[in-house]
């Protein structure tokens, strides 16, 4: 068994195979030859409050990335307003992320957060 020397319960054996590491003097060491966009606001909301706001907003640009299908309706939704002025937002639900650009909605969320 090649690894026997390093096995549990055999520290003495392991020591015998271990590379010798004597304390070195400067002289011996020297003479030895070498061998070798910042987040602006995070708003958390249950779907029941966030979804109507999204629905009421004017048509928004969106880009969706997801690791799985659209989340079930009982899942929580988190909205991250990245830039209130431009209306750029991320909406997170389940394992999905949707990028929205909706200045009106962003403005209302910021207002609601104050």
């Amino acid at each position: 068994m090649p690894w026997d020397d390093y096995l549990e319960g055999s520290p003495a054996d392991a020591e015998s195979l271990a590379v010798s590491q004597p304390a070195m003097s400067r002289r011996s060491m020297l003479r030895t030859t070498a061998g070798a966009g910042a987040a602006s606001l995070i708003a958390g909301a249950a779907l029941g409050t966030a979804a109507p706001a999204v629905a009421a907003a004017r048509p928004a640009k969106r880009a969706r990335s997801a690791d799985s299908p659209r989340p079930a309706s009982d899942e929580q939704v988190v909205v991250h307003v990245r830039n209130a002025r431009s209306g750029e937002m991320d909406v997170f639900a389940g394992t999905s992320q949707t990028r929205l650009v909706d200045p009106d909605l962003a403005a209302r969320l910021v207002q609601a957060a104050r």
């Binding site: 690894w3 390093y6 549990e8 055999s10 590491q21 070195m24 060491m29 020297l30 990335s65 988190v78």
Partner: protein, 460 residues
Amino acid sequence: MSSHREAPEISQDPVADSTDVYAFVSPDRPGMVTLIANYIPLQEPAGGPNFYEFGDDVLYDINIDNTGDGRPDIIYQFRFTTRTRNEDTFLYNTGPITSLRSGNWNRRQFYTVTRIQHGKAQVLGSGLACPPCNIGPLSTPNYKALAAEAIHTLGDIKVFAGQRAEGFYVDLGSIFDLADLRPFQTLHDQYGFHAFSKNAPGANGTNRLNVHSIAIQVPNWQLTRTRNPSADDPRAVIGVWTSACRQKVRLWDADNGRNVDSGPFRQVSRLGNPLVNEVLIPLGKKDRWNTLAPAEDKYFAEYFAHPGLAGLLPVLYPGVFPKLAGLVKSGQPRADLEAILLTGIPHGIIPGFQNSMGSTLADMLRLNTAIPPAHSPHILGLIGGDAAGFPNGRRVFDDVVTIELRAIAGVTYPLINKSYQPDGAAGLITDGLTPSSVSNGYQHSFPYLGTPYGGYYNPS
């Protein structure tokens, strides 16, 4: 440390903090490759009553690149689920845990293993039990047997996920104290403090601490591009790294006292070769490095070509590394380190050896699966004349600290410049530890890392 608490962000998130990766041809089953990814660093064994466990909210991956592009071709993905039997007790266990089905074990963890290849996911096993943590002689009276129960066979694959003894040995105290390596501390500049009048043996800063291991043993042919390639065939080589992902959003639901996670999973931690993010990547870029795939490592190439530690050694040890100082001053890039850590060592550098799949700069643990296990392994691996050890993959007992210290000190530079004569000290430098510095040692078979230290006896 190898990669324990190596970057500011991940140091705040232990369950997603990868600490070590191992990849080797199994010594007792040479047709099988063993891959191990460790998480949750520096576990104090008595750390109850909420003992250590994997994150149910973390996606753990062991990635394999067999085409050389620094991106995963095969992923073994592990997801965990924790179950509490009785929420009306504060106890982890209400009596001795004598089997994984014991009713006395209150807080259990299970997992699913999925293999992902070419975008297709195949569940290899689910509902697989982890062992409990090693608590003490009354709670976990026969720990070895308990842990053995948690080795699951899934066809021709074995898996294990649970607590293990830390097998990585390193003198943390000396390395982080401005690299005053104890065996050579009298040679250190000491900043005028005269702190050391004599040299001393190394002290293993990770001894008697535990980690959580995810281990999988897979037939070689399931990892390589082709069956039975010869050792000089680049198709015998695989690149291995681990990564951990979290969902992008975490919200503290104060009303219910729990976190709510949302959004797609994104990488928060990765690890291939030991000590890369720890030692080579500068502080301001470590967190970013942790979010990227190895394929992006070209953006960090300068830190491999001009490692900061190579410049520090001649300063910290005046007069000991004059040739290294000259090499650093010359501005010549360290193509030797680039080969070892970023591309693998191609044909023609070391007679009879290669572990390269091409020229893509990617920090992966590269294993030539056609090189058989060594009958007399050397803990210094390739620089000790043992082609089955680091940086050809990494075995659990390889002395990666000494190997990398010596490589950075110039021992491997002659591989690409035969006229370079390293300093004598470069072939001797070490933190002074060996596998015997690990109290619980290693095991001769899967999962190879030793029995975790029990809380009753540690500290003692």
